[in-house]
Symmetry: C2
Subunit: 335 residues, 2 copies
């Protein structure tokens, strides 16, 4: 982004003089003012980039911030979100937040975005605070953080998990294991609490030794499954925080020659296209990810176009229902 430093350099004056000249301070000489203004125009500098976008009402660029693009989950979010935004005359820019050092908030402001969808925000992320400070509208996607209120699109894991646990009981599972998501995400925390609560209602317990935890990644499921299968009394079913984790677990079982579901059952959450492959047939919990992605786009567009602040009008929340998708990786306990 062009800064007042750049203008100062080009005009050959101090940064303070740039500020004074652009406020039309009478103490600045006329030819200095002229030089500063001409430099500002050459560089396309505006003292207030957000004000600029709002004043013109012309920025139609929406940013989607994600951390882990290697996670195939996001590739199914981007296309519907992109199409929905396009329908409303907006474009989508993807911003990857690969490191804590990356000044993503500056990047968002610098790229002249009219709004942002946050898809991988951790509970301790500073990005929501920074965006709120700068007055950039944003929507939480599949995540929330408690401290900064904003519109959100989330999933209610309970209905799908309830049907799943009914099936666990019916199939005779008593040694239940789980690979939960990270504790610093609302999604990980919420799915874990819902599952624990529902298992409890059905009189099933999660033994501590049968629980693993980690990022929503393939490697988390792979490593957790190695450890669980090495136990003297491995769980009869492993419920994973999402499908990508479950795919990691499933591949470990296949690699070790452990039959699924005869020797161990595996369950996911998300119902990604890969999970429905004839080669995979993962039992999982589903929701309408495409509709959710479109809804996030619509909430953001409404927020941008109304110009209404969260403080003034409150937040809009959309919560999506879940369903249980029985396939081939959950079966009856043998022996």
């Amino acid at each position: 982004m062009v800064t007042s430093h750049d203008v100062a350099r080009l005009a050959g004056v101090s940064q303070a003089t740039v500020s004074r000249a652009l406020r039309d301070d009478p103490k600045v000489a006329l030819d200095t003012k002229e030089r500063v203004r001409s430099a500002a125009i050459t560089l396309g500098y505006s003292p207030n980039p957000i004000g600029r976008a709002l004043a013109v009402g012309r920025s139609t660029r929406v940013g989607l911030v994600v951390t882990d693009l290697e996670n195939q989950f996001y590739s199914y979010v981007i296309s519907p979100m992109h199409r929905e935004l396009e329908k409303h005359g907006y474009e989508l820019l993807l911003i990857t937040e690969s490191s804590e050092q990356a000044p993503v908030a500056d990047l968002v402001a610098g790229a002249g975005l009219c709004g942002v969808v946050l898809a991988t925000t951790t509970l301790d992320s500073v990005l929501p605070v920074r965006l709120a400070d700068r007055g950039i509208p944003f929507v939480y996607f599949n995540r929330t953080t408690p401290n900064v209120p904003a519109d959100s699109v989330t999933v209610d894991p309970a209905p799908g998990l309830e049907k799943l646990v009914d099936d666990l009981v019916r199939l005779g599972h008593t040694r239940v294991g789980a690979v939960f998501g990270p504790v610093n995400t609302s999604t990980g925390e919420e799915r874990e609490q819902a599952l624990r609560h529902i298992l409890d209602d059905q009189g099933l317990t999660l033994a501590r030794k049968h629980v693993r935890r980690g990022p929503f990644e393939f490697g988390t499921g792979r490593d957790a499954m190695q450890e669980l299968l090495d136990l003297d009394d491995p769980p009869t079913v492993v419920i994973c925080g999402n499908d990508v984790v479950a795919l990691g677990a499933l591949n470990t079982a296949v690699e070790r020659g452990v039959r699924v579901p005869e020797e161990v059952s595996i369950v996911g959450f998300d119902d990604l296209p890969t999970s429905a492959w004839p080669l995979v047939r993962l039992t999982t919990v589903a929701y309408d990810l495409e509709a959710m992605s479109r809804q996030a786009a619509r909430l953001l567009v409404e927020r941008v176009e109304s110009g209404e602040s969260v403080e003034a009008g409150g937040v809009h929340t959309a919560r999506f229902d879940t369903s249980y998708v029985p396939r081939a990786t959950l079966g009856r306990v043998e022996g």
Copy 2:
């Protein structure tokens, strides 16, 4: 992007007056000039946004343009490219070119990008022409187009395909089938020509009825495999344009209960992480996609920082070698 129309509207003058005022045309009244300049500064308008970025030398935003983000291939490109750019002090913005109507070239200019990596350009795309016209540096990634010269990072399919065809001969395959990529991409065309040439050298032919063609997508392999398996004399091996297509073909075989490789062999190209899953074990052709992604980032950074035009100094090309990765989906012809 802020345009001279916006400035005209805010200043309450015509667009022509904006142009004249900013050139300091003596025919424009002093107070009108003042009003136009003030509006330009408020809006951050510059008569020449490219000149602005070059003059300041401060834009460090690189765009990656891809069409089909649901294709998992790209998710493995983005992370290494992002990390390499970050090392050089640049950020990555992802731009999805979802429709022909999308004014991607305008978006690229409007977002103030210093350069672009083109990853899904078709041979007839206008984007390279538009970028060249605007003087925005770009690099072709895994693609080229013949008309607009630029730096490129591509793959040489021949070494890997030669070893693959050696193995086809050794394993007794004579009815060879193929699912090629789209004819309007250099990648599709080049892989097809290389394979045809190498098969020919080994005395193998591709019967027309055993050849299918389509976009580099899962559905292409799925549908092609249905048709090929319905033939009276299906091919004994199906060579696919990439791994995603091969995964579609493999899942169709599994769904139909056709044993791979006992009844039909399937081969891919790319060696995506999914292809190495114990559940998949796809025989394929590999190259160093991560190194390629990093190299594209480096070529672009060099081009941006040197400021050297393609016309003045010629193009830089990096070509990556391929190798053959035998796994479980290619076997001996039975019977």
